[in-house]
């Protein structure tokens, strides 16, 4: 019994990592189900869903809100950052564990609590889940009367996010302390695996961004319950009742939220970028093209990422000159990202790749990063964003670059580090099928959305009525999207099955199955002094020769 409890309330960072991943898996299961309901409703708005009836407008908005919140916070913040970092970060820097194991465990349990609170917002409350989107713009989110779900549902949403912020803050400072303070001798900055660099930058962003969200959430909560008016403007009225008694400004929320919001989306993708870099080097048996430049660019992305939040508010009444400034910085941030892509492509150029499943997913990540990233500079131009803002073009943009790139990064990680979790390898054939089906289906789902966006179809539309009826011409497109979304979700069944089976009967991995050079694969004595760079693959001399970081230069050949 006590051993069982010990297993659950563990402070072992590897166990915690796996628990984080399982949490993300639960979240993604819910989030995916919601997204399928959304897709279904968009095509058959009047269909009767068994046990649910016909979907009411507020139901659809609640679905969107919960979907977005779950996916952004509980999948793409939890899995790549907390999950994988806990699993391998200490190993990769030759430390014995996280700097503060207990804090680490605490932040996991907080995350779990906040997840449960969020779920309860959807199911246990009278009004149902909040409907104001994952960005929760006030006054809609500040006034319980403003709509169904804006009562207790919204409160729970705020509480959940508040807890999540604290958890994120704890795990970020833990990770930073680990990376800065617990590197093994000789594990200099120039010898850090790119994953560590990405976790470093992402942690700094987490540290700086989430507290701001925490402050904003706290103020919103006090507006709702303690009669303050930070966000509710003077004379604001909801169905005939005047509720605004001081001049709060909704813009204040927009500023605070997006100051968090944009760094957040980079937190979601940075670990994927780091992992992709490592995998490209590993499976092409080459050194990373321009390691220093790649690391520097990651940092640059982090820094710039803190300065671009205004690009979400071009048409929200920010000063047009500010719009120009934010547009410029946003364009600037495309540069380091481009440099990363070029670095990756340069690493891959020579070919001779080992196309094992993790590599395939890393390549998928790259493909999505290019396809989704390139729409970024379009949105970054105010005069184009004036038309595209809050249309499906934006939805397409962030599903390609955040949702799909991010999730493919997670997949790459799972397939790659599976041996560290179970000692076994995942099934290659199933993996390849999973990859190709997911890739095609993902593009089939999110590419057409660009056209819906160009046609001007706004987000958060429950159904088409009135003048918007002319969008019904998009119906075939929407159908296509829905079908391929179904396919996409179905493909995940293969993944789950693969995990389940391989965990028990998969091929035993043995030591360092991928012939990798980074320290997490070393078992036995990590030398007390690290004397090698992270990616010393030596393709030119003899196929696939390589020098792991735990090997000392003397016993080279």
């Amino acid at each position: 019994m006590r051993r069982a409890l010990g297993k659950v309330f563990t402070t072992d960072h590897r166990r915690l990592g796996v628990m984080y991943l399982l949490l993300a898996l639960a979240a993604v299961a819910v989030g995916t189900t919601l997204s399928l309901l959304m897709r279904f409703h968009r095509v058959w708005p009047n269909a009767v869903i068994p046990g649910f009836g016909v979907m009411k407008p507020e139901d659809y908005l609640a679905l969107v809100t919960m979907h977005g919140t779950l996916m952004v916070f509980f999948v793409l913040t939890v899995a790549p950052q907390s999950g994988f970092a806990n699993l391998v970060l200490p190993g990769q820097i030759g430390a014995r564990g996280m700097a503060f194991p207990k804090i680490n465990a605490t932040s996991f349990w907080l995350t779990l609590v906040s997840f449960l609170v969020l779920i309860s917002a959807a199911h246990l409350t009278a009004g149902g889940a909040p409907i104001s989107g994952w960005t929760s713009y006030p006054p809609l989110s500040a006034l319980p009367a403003a709509g169904p779900g804006q009562g207790l549902g919204m409160d729970l949403w705020l509480v959940s996010i508040g807890i999540f912020c604290v958890a994120a803050w704890l795990s970020a400072l833990n990770m930073l302390a680990t990376i800065v303070g617990k590197r093994r001798a000789g594990m200099t900055w120039a010898r850090l695996p790119m994953t560590v660099w990405s976790w470093l930058v992402a942690s700094v962003l987490t540290l700086l961004a989430f507290v701001v969200l925490l402050a904003a959430v706290g103020m919103l909560f006090s507006d709702r319950h303690f009669g303050t008016n930070f966000f509710i403007p003077m004379g604001d009225m909801i169905n005939g009742q005047v509720v605004g008694h001081g001049n709060g400004s909704p813009m204040l929320w927009l500023q605070l939220f997006w100051f968090f919001g944009h760094p957040e989306v980079y937190i979601a993708v940075l670990p994927g970028m780091g992992l992709a870099t490592s995998l490209f080097a590993n499976f092409s048996r080459r050194r990373v093209a321009g390691y220093k430049m790649m690391a520097g660019m990651l940092v640059a992305i982090g820094l710039l990422g803190l300065l671009v939040w205004g690009h979400h508010m071009f048409v929200s009444g920010i000063n047009p000159y500010a719009g120009t400034a934010f547009a410029a910085v946003t364009m600037a941030i495309a540069v380091p990202s481009t440099a990363e892509v070029i670095g990756w492509l340069a690493t891959l150029w020579g070919g001779g790749l080992r196309l094992r499943t993790p590599m395939l997913f890393a390549l998928g990540f790259l493909s999505f990063f290019i396809a989704g990233g390139l729409t970024g500079p379009i949105l970054a131009q105010p005069s184009l964003d004036v038309y595209l803002h809050n249309t499906f073009f934006v939805v397409a943009h962030f599903h390609l670059i955040m949702a799909m790139a991010g999730v493919f990064g997670v997949f790459a990680g799972v397939y790659y580090w599976f041996p560290l979790m179970t000692g076994r390898l995942m099934n290659e054939t199933l993996g390849k099928v999973h990859f190709w089906v997911s890739l095609i289906a993902a593009y089939g789902t999110f590419l057409p959305m660009h056209f819906a966006g160009l046609a001007g179809e706004p987000r958060h539309y429950d159904r088409l009525t009135g003048p918007a009826m002319n969008f019904t011409a998009l119906l075939p497109l929407e159908r296509g999207i829905t079908y391929s979304a179904l396919l996409l979700a179905a493909a995940q069944g293969i993944f789950l099955w693969n995990v389940f089976v391989s965990a028990r009967r998969g091929r035993v991995a043995g030591v360092n199955p991928w012939e990798s050079t980074t320290l997490e694969w070393e078992n036995g004595e990590v030398p007390s002094l690290i004397e090698r760079g992270p990616y010393e693959y030596e393709l030119p001399q003899g196929e696939g020769g390589y020098h792991p970081q735990w090997e000392s230069p003397v016993k080279q050949e």
Binding site: K182, R184, A216, F230, G248, L529
Partner: protein, 253 residues
Amino acid sequence: MPATFTRNPVDVERNDTGIGGKPPYDRRPTGGGGDGENWENHPQGRGGPRELLIRYRLGLMFALSGDLMFFVALVSAFFVRQSTGHFDVYNHYTTDWRSLAVPPILWLNTAVLLLSSVTMEIARRQLFHEIDVMEEWLGLGRPAVKRAAPWLIATLGLGLTFLVGQWVAWEQLVQQGYLLSAPNPSSNFFYLITGIHGLHLVVGVLALMAALMGLFTLKKVEFRQIAVDSVAWYWHTMGIFWAFLFVLLVFFQ
């Protein structure tokens, strides 16, 4: 756990950090700049001196930098909110920001807090006083603790005084009719900022008590040092934060 996870014996040995048994030359708890897990020139499994201390300082530093950002967010909100207003029916730009005069007692509180920072620092210094610590660590009495404790208690007293003072300030404001829920953002912000800073100090006081107990219960010099050191840095930071917030509340109304 699978084979790939076999821990090497070193881990086990390292699990007990700190001092005890015969002093190896490189494990003296004080003096000598240790740096992270730099194990050059001494056998594996031996943390450099101060390894733990430095780790805790790091963690604290990061935690506090996040905290700083948190306050920055509040302050920027303060300014944005101050600048918002609306056009009244006669198209005059009006704002509901009625700047409140902070209760004079705040000056006193501030002085108290800054003083407490001084006493805290003295207490901290005691625990890093080379000779005393050597004695402690060789097991000859606890001079450092004896010297530090009074100063810690003094700090505790001052801290509590500050909190009481803040409470009084709130009372006075309520007398003047400035409620948290008043339709006046400047009073909203006053309560928000002082309240949150107050919470931080409550945490600080609790930590202080814990450290005080630690002084007498903790077996190892290193841990006693860590306890006091962490609390001290936290305390100083809160002092500095308050200095800024105070200036904000008094001069930027």
